[in-house]
C-alpha cells in the first residue's frame, strides 16, 4: 500500500509539473514568442529579467514548490526503473536512502538560492 501511495504522489507530481514546467518553458524557452515576465526586453534569461522574477514572491514560492515536486517525480521515477531489476532488499534500501539524501540536499540548495536571490533582488529594487 505504501508503494501505491508513492506512485499516486508520482502521478500527482507529474500533473503539477505539467503546469509549473509548462509555465517555466513558456517564459524561458519560448519567451521570444510569449514575452511573458520580460519587462526589460531581450532574452528572458538575461540578468535583469532574472532579477525581476526573483524579486517577485510568486516566483520564489513557485520555484520552491516546483523544485520539490520535480525532484520527487524524477528521483522516484529513476528509483522505479532501478527497482525493476529486482534487486536485493539491502540494495533497494541503499538506493532509497541515497536518493532521499540527494533529493533533500538539492532541495535545500535550491530553496536557499531562491530565498537569497529574492532578498538580493528586493534589496536591489529598493536601491
Amino acid at each position: 500500500m505504501r508503494e501505491t501511495k508513492y506512485w499516486t504522489w508520482h502521478m500527482a507530481a507529474g500533473v503539477v509539473i505539467l503546469f509549473l514546467l509548462g509555465l517555466h518553458m513558456l517564459i524561458m524557452h519560448v519567451g521570444g514568442i510569449t514575452h511573458l515576465f520580460v519587462p526589460y526586453g531581450g532574452e528572458a534569461v538575461s540578468k535583469s529579467n532574472s532579477l525581476f522574477r526573483d524579486g517577485k514572491l510568486f516566483f520564489t514560492v513557485t520555484y520552491i514548490l516546483f523544485l520539490g515536486v520535480a525532484l520527487y517525480h524524477g528521483l522516484y521515477g529513476l528509483r522505479t526503473i532501478l527497482f525493476e531489476l529486482t534487486l536485493k532488499p539491502a540494495a533497494e534500501k541503499a538506493i532509497t536512502f541515497v536518493f532521499l539524501v540527494v533529493g533533500l540536499g538539492l532541495f535545500g540548495l535550491g530553496t536557499w538560492a531562491a530565498v537569497v536571490t529574492h532578498a538580493i533582488a528586493i534589496a536591489g529594487a529598493r536601491g
Binding site: G14, V30, G32, G77, L106, G110, W112, T117
Partner: protein, 145 residues
C-alpha cells in the same frame, strides 16, 4: 437478447500481421523513460547551475559559458524531451486512471479493444507534442524576435 451484427473480415490472414508482439505504445513508454532520464540528468545539473545566481554568477547570460551554440542545441533537446514526456505522460495518467480504456463488448468481429481509444489518444498527444516542438524550434532557431 439483441442480434449481434456480424461483418466480414476483409483483411483475412493479412490482418494477423497487423499486431506484432510490441505495439507502438510499448515503444512510446520506452521513449517516455528515456526522455525522463535525460530530463532528470539535466535537471540535477540545472539546480546547481541556477543556484550560482545566489553568488551573483549568471553563466547563462549573453557572453557566459553556457551561451554557446552547443548548449543552446542541448537546451532544445531538453525542451523536446519535455514536450514528448509531458504529453505522453498525460496519456499515461489517463490510461492508468482508466479514462482511456473504453467499454468492453462481446468478442464478435469487428472487435473493439482499448486500443480503439488509446491509439487515437496517442496520436493526438503526439500531434500536440509536435506542435509544441515546432514552437520551440521556431524560438531556438532565432526566428522569434
Amino acid at each position: 437478447m439483441t442480434e449481434i451484427q456480424r461483418h466480414d473480415n476483409r483483411l483475412g490472414i493479412w490482418g494477423w500481421l497487423g499486431g506484432g508482439r510490441w505495439g507502438i505504445e510499448r515503444y512510446a513508454y520506452i521513449l517516455h523513460r528515456l526522455t525522463g532520464l535525460g530530463t532528470l540528468c539535466y535537471f540535477l545539473m540545472h539546480i546547481v547551475v541556477t543556484s550560482l545566481r545566489a553568488w551573483g554568477i549568471y553563466p547563462w547570460v549573453e557572453g557566459g559559458f553556457f551561451h554557446r551554440p552547443i548548449f543552446k542545441f542541448a537546451e532544445f533537446l531538453v525542451f523536446a524531451a519535455f514536450a514528448y514526456h509531458a504529453f505522453n505522460g498525460i496519456r499515461l495518467v489517463l490510461v492508468e486512471l482508466g479514462f482511456a480504456v473504453g467499454k468492453p463488448i462481446e468478442p464478435v468481429y469487428p472487435y473493439k479493444t482499448s486500443l480503439n481509444v488509446q491509439r487515437p489518444l496517442l496520436i493526438s498527444m503526439m500531434i500536440l507534442a509536435a506542435i509544441l516542438l515546432a514552437a520551440g524550434g521556431y524560438e531556438f532557431l532565432g526566428l522569434a524576435k
